[in-house]
């Protein structure tokens, strides 16, 4: 028995833990291969419950009600290659081509087997190109019939890793697998060390996964089986909230519960606190809703790209959940809101993208947020730096809102609240960055493009989204997520 086990034994007696928990505890205390040598808190070990202390919940108005409605009709759908970082699209269709739901629209130049499928049947309306003829979107006009291509059905519980891998590539599910390091579309030739799924989203106004996955747990379980085959039958790591109940009874998962503020729901944070990535390791992650889509697609042989979107934000006329499909028109989710004073964000307010009101839902987004635009100049005494700021949510204590009750929600607009400056204030990123990594030093090493320093400072473990709160809190208004993305891209180029 290890020393830890012994301690648990003693403590276990003291705390009058019943036999079953005691058994679990002693099992949990047996060091698993490659277990993180972080300081193990005995209480955490006993319940496999990890408390994330750093971070912050930004309390915004416009939370969705529990209602789930079908989204309004959408005449066109778009699949947007820039959503899938790290792939170069090669078209398989032309404008006017007839497609079915599940027909390939384009594939990845880096991995030609990786197909991107049409979410609906109809014909290709247009191919939108940007600078240097880069493909921005393939727009499909729906014929309303939703005829689907019959794909191979896979027995996820018994299929081999190779079969699953091939099926995921051809069934259009692979683009939803993200890899760490680099935080981009996974390389299908890699063998991941482990696969991690976050069972909850902690971002501001984020969807509640219990609602998103309601009635889809069988599909979710099938998705888990498929992923598990890719890591030699090992369990999939699933991070959950202590109070969540939908995930109990799942097979082939290893549950770890995470308590604490955002970004506790970021899969990168969960990985860091359980099985941190080392240089030379690769792991894959997938969004919980995409895991359910994966299970459904492989088992039914019909390409499934369901989205239960949390339509949120202080400017949304009717914040609620809406069922739709990948790449739908945003106007079907915003109650047709089209006003220059309202910003439509595909995604959450921290990592989402500013979309046109008549644009399309991003391929990896599960939420939309409508916020007021803040493009009017603000007078110093009433609305900006000299104002009392009683209505300003701030992580800095220089506004008095930190003294207000935690139940109050705030309206925030998109004003930068100041201009970009050099780094001056210190100690601002650390309280919202739950990694054993020095965020400012890492960012500076990226700005200096010092690959060696980036590696040493832990860039392998992070994704841009993990820095979103740092960027939010930054007094100097530095574009932290862009810098991290640039660092990851440079690192990938350097490693070849």
């Amino acid at each position: 028995m290890t020393l830890e086990g012994l301690l648990v034994l003693v403590l276990g007696w003291k705390l009058d833990i019943d036999a079953e928990i005691y058994k679990k505890v002693v099992q949990a205390s047996v060091p698993r291969p490659n277990f993180a040598p972080r300081k193990v808190n005995l209480r955490e070990l006993m319940s496999r419950k990890i408390r994330i202390k750093k971070g912050a919940d930004i309390r915004l108005k416009g939370r969705p009600t529990q209602t789930v409605d079908a989204a309004a009709f959408t005449a066109t759908y778009a699949v947007q290659p820039p959503n899938y970082h790290g792939i170069t699209p090669k078209l398989e269709v032309k404008e006017g081509s007839a497609v079915q739901a599940g027909s390939p629209l384009f594939f990845s130049k880096e991995a030609p087997a990786m197909k991107f499928l049409s979410p609906t049947s109809g014909k290709v309306k247009s191919i939108v190109r940007g600078a240097k003829r880069r493909i921005l979107a393939v727009i499909v006009e729906s014929d309303g019939k939703n005829d689907a291509v019959a794909l191979d059905k896979i027995d996820v519980a018994s299929a081999s890793a190779e079969v699953i891998r091939k099926a995921m590539l051809s069934h259009g599910m692979f683009p939803f697998v993200e890899q760490r390091p680099f935080a981009d579309v996974a390389n299908p030739d890699d063998t991941p060390r482990s696969i991690h799924v976050s069972g909850f989203d902690s971002a501001p106004l984020a969807p509640d996964m219990e609602i998103v996955l309601k009635g889809r747990m069988e599909a979710f379980q099938n998705g888990i089986y498929a992923l598990s085959a890719l890591v030699g039958g090992n369990a999939i790591h699933l991070g959950i909230r202590p109070e969540q109940t939908i995930y109990s009874g799942l097979k082939n998962v290893e549950l770890t519960s995470f308590d604490g503020p955002h970004p506790a729901g970021n899969v990168g944070v969960q990985v860091h606190h359980t099985l941190p990535i080392n240089k030379g390791e690769t792991l894959w992650t997938m969004h919980a809703e995409d895991v359910a889509n994966l299970g459904e697609t492989l088992v039914s042989g019909v390409y499934t790209s369901k989205r239960t979107i949390a339509a949120t934000g202080s400017e949304h006329p009717h914040p609620r959940y809406l069922q739709t499909h990948l790449g739908c028109e945003l106007s079907s989710l915003t109650n047709g809101m089209n006003d220059a004073s309202v910003r439509v964000i595909s995604g959450n307010p921290l990592t989402g993208t500013h979309a046109a009101a008549d644009g399309y839902l991003g391929g990896l987004d599960h939420q939309i947020t409508l916020l007021p635009e803040g493009n009017d100049p603000k007078f110093l005494l009433t609305a900006c730096w000299l104002s009392p700021g009683l209505d300003k949510f701030s992580l800095s204590k220089s506004y008095p809102t930190w003294l207000m009750p935690k139940s109050k929600d705030f309206v925030m607009d998109t004003n930068t609240g100041g201009e970009e400056r050099a780094f001056v204030v210190t100690g601002q990123y650390e309280p919202v960055f739950p990694f054993d990594i020095y965020p400012v030093q890492l960012i500076k090493s990226i700005m200096a493009n010092d690959i060696d320093a980036m590696e040493k400072l832990g860039i392998y473990e992070v994704a841009p989204e993990d820095f979103a709160l740092c960027e939010y809190a930054c007094t100097s208004k530095i574009d932290v997520q862009d810098i991290v993305r640039e660092g990851l891209d440079n690192l990938k180029k350097e490693l070849g």
């Binding site: 390791e281 004003n415 020095y438 930054c474």
Partner: protein, 418 residues
């Protein structure tokens, strides 16, 4: 406020590229953004941002300086009255409140104006040359500099010191956020080394020299600061009458008693004398999270620790001054709250801040007592720690790096055995 904004908008074309006044764009831009936070919106990355910016941060530091500034202004008048015997040490709050404030203001205001005028002038010049917008950093430095100056410092000397500090300590490194040394302390250090003669002796009290010449000065009044008096005792036997005379001034009823030192009714640089006024500022800085409580508290602990060690050693009269008395004298408190906490020149890592602060305080008292040539050790100690801060950070970060490397080696070993 619409009217003001319309006015600014209407004159804007003159300052834009091709306008008559385009070379003054920096001036226009800084004034406009001072009055109105521009309607810039987020683009990539986060879609919402915190309302705090550098202007608010710097402004709050200036607010925290106000008690020290007001008290310092009054105290300069008070010290003048003391020197000519208008009021007595025993009765500091006797009438003449307004007179004291006015006399002080006549001396202190020009210092503030010269500091801001010269410093901001150079900032505008560099911003114009580089095509940057004005950084707010000098708003704080410009207020700190007059507060750490002796009241009778000639204005041309002050102007020279400000110019040196802003150009050599800040702009050559790339401006706000890039400097290694604290700008305000560099100005003080410049005067200290460039004009040692002028910066010692009869400069701490308004017009001490002319009062003396006119026969107005109270008998035996020297106008030296507490630390100046104490420095004169070093190297002498504690039993010498001169030393005993100095030590009497630090007794409970002396001019530099603990109470007087704490409330600040003693000669010294404009803003440094009152520990009370400075601590009011400290409360605001800590409450708003702008000043690092880690640096402040470890600085204090460092100073008290060194003071206590000296108390135990007790080798000369200076060492017998109680540790708590040491930290309320001279520039210790001011340095602790407003200089050591400068986020740019301090240690950047949270663990580094503890080390940085502790040694800052420790060295302040050590230099003060060991080296009578530098009656004020705080300036030297903080500048030294500014230089050491990157080294401290390096080792703090390095321990994190090696932890990560060990983890990787462990993982590789496990993979090899598996």
């Amino acid at each position: 406020m619409k009217a003001l904004h319309n006015m600014l908008d209407s004159i804007r074309p003159h300052f834009e590229e091709g306008g008559k006044l385009s070379r003054f764009w920096v001036v226009y831009d800084s004034l406009e953004t001072f009055a109105f936070t521009p309607g810039h919106t987020t683009k990539s990355g986060v879609q919402i941002r915190d309302g705090v910016d550098l202007k608010r941060t710097m402004f709050l530091v200036i607010v925290a300086l106000i008690p020290a500034l007001l008290f310092g202004t009054w105290n300069q008048g008070h010290q003048y009255m003391l020197s000519i015997g208008e009021v007595s040490v025993a009765d500091p709050l006797s009438a003449l409140f307004l007179d004291k404030l006015l006399i002080g203001a006549v001396k202190v205001l020009p210092l503030v104006i010269v500091s801001y005028g010269v410093g901001l002038g150079i900032e505008f010049l560099f911003a114009g040359m580089r095509g940057h917008s004005i950084n707010e950093g000098y708003l704080v430095s410009g207020m700190l500099i007059p507060l750490i100056m002796p009241v009778d410092v000639p204005l041309w000397m002050l102007a020279l010191a400000v110019a040196f500090a802003v150009i050599i300590a800040k702009e050559v490194f790339g401006g706000t956020g890039m400097n290694i040394l604290n700008v305000a302390l560099t100005a003080r250090a410049f005067l200290f080394f460039a004009y040692p003669k002028q910066l010692s002796g009869e400069i701490w009290i308004h017009e001490v020299a002319s009062s003396k010449a006119g026969g107005l000065l109270v008998d035996g009044y020297t106008g030296a600061t507490a630390l100046g008096h104490l420095a004169s005792t070093v190297g002498k036997s504690p039993t010498e009458p001169a030393v005993a005379g100095v030590m009497d001034m630090f007794a409970a009823d002396g001019m530099f008693s603990l109470t007087n030192s704490f409330f600040g009714l003693i000669p010294g640089s404009v803003g440094e004398t009152s520990a009370l006024a400075i601590l009011i500022g400290a409360v605001l800085l800590i409450w708003t999270g702008i000043g690092s409580w880690k640096v402040m508290s470890s600085f204090l602990v460092g100073g008290l620790a060194m003071g206590a060690i000296f108390n135990l050693m007790g080798l000369n009269a200076y060492m017998t001054i109680p540790a708590i008395h040491q930290v309320v004298m001279g520039g210790f408190m001011f340095g602790m709250v407003f200089m050591a906490t400068d986020p740019v020149s301090a240690a950047q890592t949270e663990r580094g801040k503890w080390i940085y602060g502790f040694f800052g305080g420790f060295l302040s008292i050590m230099i003060r007592v060991f080296n009578p040539a530098y009656p004020e050790g705080v300036m030297m100690a903080i500048l030294f720690m500014n230089v050491m801060a990157p080294l401290i950070d390096h080792y703090v970060v390095q321990s994190n790096v090696s932890k990560r490397e060990k983890r990787m080696e462990l993982a590789m070993a496990q993979r090899a055995t598996a």
